[in-house]
C-alpha cells in the first residue's frame, strides 16, 4: 500500500483551468519526482472549490493549507518551502478582507460560511428511504418536544420569533399565518404542503422531497398541532414521480412507527397525511387555485379574501405552506428561534435555497444566508459564467419575476431588496444569462410559458399576453416598428392592472424588466435590424469574405440546404435566400473567412 504523507489538491474547475491549473499540476508532478518524493506526495485534480475569484487554488492535506492565486512560477517555492521544509508560503495564503489577517487553515475562512445548510441539512446526507437515518439526525425530536412540552401558542411564538417567512416566494411570516389559522374556530382544519413547484429552472422543493421527505412530514404534523388540524395534504405535481415515491415510503414508515397517525407518542394527538396530485399547471402554485384543484375543481384562482386560513380546502380553515418553509421548521424548534433569527438580514431571517441554472458553471442547489450578494452566489459558489463569457443578467422569481443586471450584483439578497430592484425572490430559481442571450428572446420565452399556462378566464391575460407575445415575436423577426416598444410597455401596464389573478398580473414582468434594463437591445432589433447577442436567427447574416476564402469547399460540403456555391480553389458565395442561418459554415471554416453580422 502506498502511504502518501501529503496530498496537494489542485482545483480543476473551469475558472482555475483557464488560469493554468493544468500547468501547475504538471510542474508539481515533475518537481515531486525530481525530489524523489513520488511515493510520499500525491497531486490530485479536484472539482471546483467555488472560489474562482481567487483561483487557481491549491489545498494541502493534511494541514489544510489553502493557497490562492497560485501561478506556475510559484510551484518551486511551494515545493521547496512547504513540501520539503514544512513551512507554508505565506504570501500565497488567503487574506481575510475584514481582519486583514492571513488565514492558513481553510476551515477558518469566511468562504466556508457562505453556504449554511438548514433546509438542505439532510439532503445528500441521509438515505431518504430510511426513517432511522432521519431519526438519528434529530428527526421527529421537534415534534416530540412540541407535543409533550409546549403548548400550541408557545410553538407559534417560537416560529414567529424566528422571523421565518414563506419560502414559496410571497414572504408572508409563517408564524403569523399559523396564528391566524389557529384563531379561526372550526371543527375541521387542514394543513397543506404546497409542492407544486412550477417556475422554470426551480427544483429545490423537488430535491428536498427527494432527499429529506420526513422533515416536511414532521413540520406538517407540528403545524397541525399548532392550528388544531388532524389532517395534512401534500399537493404535488404528478411530474415529480421520484418525490412522490419517496414521500409515500416516508409516510408509510412514519405511520408504522406511529409518528404519524392516531395518538402520536401517546399524547392523544392525531395527524394523518395524504397526497394529492396535480397535473403540473403553473397557476396551481397559487394557494386558492391549488385548493380548488385538490377539491376536484378547475385549478383557477379566486379572489382573496377570504384567505385559505379562514375558508380553504372544502370551505374549512387551511394553512398552506411551501416545502422549503416546512423543512426549516424542525430545525428552528430544535435549535431555537434565537439561533435562527441571528442568521440573515433584519427583515429576512434564515437561509434561502437557490437552484442555479443557465449559463453558470456549477449548476445545482445552494443554500445561503439571506443577505448574501448575487456576486457571491454567481461567482464564488456558482463558479462563474460558462466558457468564460460575460455575465449579462440573472432572472429570479421565474416568469413572475424580473431580471437583475450587473448593477444589482452587489445587493444583499432578501425579499425586500429583490422587490426594490425590480425582481422578486420567488421560489428561488436563478437562471443566469450571458452575453450571447438575447433579452427580447428571453422575454418571449417567458411569455410563451405564461401563454401556455393562462387559464383563459379573463381577457387581459388570455388576449393581452397573446398580443404581447406577437409583438415580441415580430421584433425578433426583425419586423418591429418604431412604436412597438411603447405598445409593449402600455399593454404590459394594462395587463398588470386588470388581470384577475397573480399569474396574469405578473406575466408582463419579464417584458417590463427587460425593457427597463435592456431597452438598447430592443432598439437595436427595431432600428438597426440587429440582434446584439446574435441569437435571433432572422436578423443574422452570414457572408464569405472573398479575400480569405481559399475555396476548400468545406462549407459547401457541410451546408445542409445547398445555399453555398463556388468552384474549388475559388471564393465561394452564400445565397441569402436559401440560407437558414444554422451557422454550420461559420463553425467549419478553418480560415475565418465567414463573417456573422
Amino acid at each position: 500500500m502506498t502511504d502518501y504523507k501529503m496530498h496537494l489538491l489542485i482545483c480543476g474547475g473551469t475558472g482555475c483551468k483557464a488560469s493554468e491549473s493544468d500547468e501547475i499540476k504538471n510542474r508539481l508532478n515533475q518537481l515531486i519526482s525530481d525530489f524523489g518524493l513520488a511515493d510520499e506526495v500525491q497531486v490530485v485534480l479536484t472539482g471546483c472549490f467555488g472560489f474562482c475569484e481567487k483561483g487557481p487554488i491549491i489545498k494541502v492535506l493534511p494541514d489544510n493549507t489553502f493557497y490562492v492565486q497560485v501561478t506556475p512560477n510559484d510551484v518551486v517555492e511551494i515545493m521547496e518551502e512547504h513540501i520539503v521544509k514544512g513551512r507554508p508560503v505565506k504570501r500565497l495564503l488567503y487574506t481575510d478582507p475584514n481582519s486583514a489577517e492571513q488565514i492558513s487553515d481553510s476551515k477558518g475562512m469566511d468562504f466556508y460560511k457562505k453556504q449554511i445548510r438548514i433546509a438542505l441539512k439532510n439532503c445528500g446526507f441521509i438515505n431518504p428511504e430510511n426513517i432511522d437515518e432521519y431519526i438519528a439526525r434529530d428527526g421527529y425530536q421537534a415534534l416530540g418536544k412540541c407535543l409533550t412540552e409546549l403548548t400550541p401558542e408557545e410553538v407559534i411564538k417560537e416560529v414567529k420569533d424566528s422571523g421565518l417567512r414563506g419560502r414559496g416566494g410571497g414572504g408572508f411570516p409563517t408564524g403569523l399565518k399559523w396564528e391566524i389559522t389557529k384563531n379561526v374556530e372550526n371543527d375541521q382544519k387542514y394543513v397543506v404542503c404546497n409542492a407544486d413547484e412550477g417556475d422554470p429552472g426551480a427544483f429545490m422543493d423537488r430535491s428536498i422531497l427527494e432527499g429529506d421527505p420526513h422533515s416536511v412530514l414532521e413540520a406538517m404534523a407540528i403545524c397541525g398541532y399548532c392550528i388544531g388540524a388532524d389532517k395534512g395534504l401534500v399537493y404535488i405535481r404528478a411530474e415529480y414521480p421520484l418525490a412522490i415515491q419517496r414521500l409515500k415510503i416516508a409516510i408509510k414508515q412514519a405511520e408504522e412507527y406511529g409518528l404519524i397517525g392516531d395518538d402520536i407518542l401517546g399524547t392523544g394527538f392525531n395527524f394523518h397525511i395524504e397526497l394529492r396530485y396535480g397535473a403540473g399547471a403553473f397557476v396551481c402554485g397559487e394557494e386558492t387555485a391549488l385548493i380548488h384543484s385538490m377539491e376536484g375543481l378547475r385549478g383557477e384562482p379566486t379572489f382573496k379574501p377570504p384567505f385559505p386560513s379562514v375558508s380553504g380546502y372544502m370551505g374549512k380553515p387551511t394553512n398552506v405552506n411551501n416545502v422549503e418553509t416546512f423543512a426549516n421548521i424542525p430545525v428552528i424548534l430544535n435549535k431555537g428561534a434565537e439561533w435562527f433569527s441571528k442568521i440573515g438580514t433584519e427583515k429576512s431571517k434564515g437561509t434561502k435555497v437557490f437552484a442555479l441554472a443557465g449559463k453558470i458553471n456549477n449548476v445545482g442547489l445552494i443554500e445561503v444566508p439571506m443577505g448574501t450578494t448575487l456576486r457571491e452566489v454567481i461567482y464564488d459558489i456558482g463558479g462563474g459564467i460558462k466558457d468564460g463569457k460575460e455575465f449579462k443578467a440573472v432572472q429570479t422569481g421565474g416568469p413572475s419575476g424580473g431580471c437583475l443586471t450587473k448593477d444589482s450584483l452587489d445587493i444583499p439578497i432578501d425579499y425586500d431588496n429583490l422587490l426594490a430592484s425590480g425582481s422578486m425572490m420567488g421560489s428561488g430559481g436563478m437562471i443566469v444569462m450571458d452575453e450571447s442571450d438575447c433579452m427580447v428572446s428571453i422575454a418571449k420565452f417567458y411569455l410563451d410559458f405564461t401563454l401556455e399556462e393562462s387559464c383563459g378566464k379573463c381577457t387581459p391575460c388570455r388576449v393581452g399576453n397573446k398580443r404581447l407575445y406577437e409583438l415580441l415575436d415580430k421584433i425578433t423577426q426583425g419586423k418591429g416598428e418604431e412604436q412597438d416598444i411603447e405598445k409593449l410597455k402600455d399593454l404590459s401596464v394594462v395587463i398588470k392592472d386588470t388581470a384577475l389573478c397573480g399569474l396574469g398580473q405578473t406575466s408582463p414582468n419579464p417584458v417590463l424588466s427587460t425593457i427597463s434594463n435592456f431597452e438598447h437591445e430592443y432598439k437595436a432589433h427595431v432600428h438597426d435590424g440587429k440582434c446584439p447577442a446574435g441569437q435571433c436567427k432572422s436578423l443574422l447574416r452570414y457572408d464569405i469574405v472573398e479575400d480569405l476564402c481559399t475555396g476548400c469547399t468545406l462549407c459547401f460540403r457541410n451546408c445542409p440546404v445547398g445555399a453555398i456555391s463556388g468552384e474549388r480553389r475559388a471564393p465561394h458565395f452564400i445565397d441569402q435566400t436559401l440560407c437558414i442561418k444554422c451557422g454550420v459554415c461559420f463553425e467549419k471554416c478553418k480560415f475565418n473567412a465567414i463573417t456573422l453580422t
Binding site: V44, G47, N127, F203
Partner: protein
C-alpha cells in the same frame, strides 16, 4: 416495526440509530467498513446514478470489500452528477463527481483499497448546522 409510544421511546430509537451509524463510522476493525453514498435524486438518476450504484455494489462484492452502499438525495452538485460520497473509516468523507464505470474502478482500486486520492474530488463548500 413496533410503534413508538412516547418521546422517551423516540429518543431511545435515536440513540440506537446513532450508535449503529457510529459503529459503522468508527470501526477499528482492520477489515473496516467502507461507506459509499450515491446521490439518487432526479438529477443523479438522470445521469446514470442507478447503474453506478449497482456497479459499485457488484464491484465491491467481487473485490470482497466490506462496504455499505446506500442512496441519498441531491448533494447540490447537479453539474457533476452522478456524485458519490465515499467514507473510509476514521477519515473525512470525500465526494467524487462525474462518476462513470471507469471512475468506479479508479475509486475502488486507488482510494478504497490504497487510500490514494483520485482526480475528480468535489471540495465541500458549505457548513451544516451541526458544525
Amino acid at each position: 416495526m413496533t410503534k413508538i409510544k412516547s418521546l422517551a421511546d423516540l429518543r431511545k430509537i435515536k440513540e440506537e440509530a446513532q450508535s449503529r451509524i457510529k459503529l459503522r463510522e468508527n470501526s477499528t476493525n482492520p477489515d473496516q467498513v467502507v461507506q459509499v453514498k450515491v446521490g439518487m435524486a432526479t438529477c443523479g438518476i438522470a445521469s446514470g446514478a442507478k447503474e453506478i450504484m449497482k456497479y459499485f455494489v457488484e464491484e465491491l462484492e467481487q473485490e470482497a470489500i466490506d462496504a455499505v452502499v446506500t442512496q441519498t438525495g441531491c448533494m447540490g452538485y447537479c453539474y457533476a452528477e452522478p456524485t458519490v460520497e465515499v467514507k473510509l473509516p476514521g477519515k473525512e468523507p470525500l465526494v467524487f463527481g462525474h462518476v462513470n464505470k471507469e471512475k468506479v474502478h479508479e475509486i475502488i482500486d486507488k482510494y478504497i483499497k490504497r487510500g490514494e486520492l483520485v482526480d475528480g474530488i468535489i471540495p465541500v463548500s458549505f457548513k451544516t448546522i451541526d458544525d
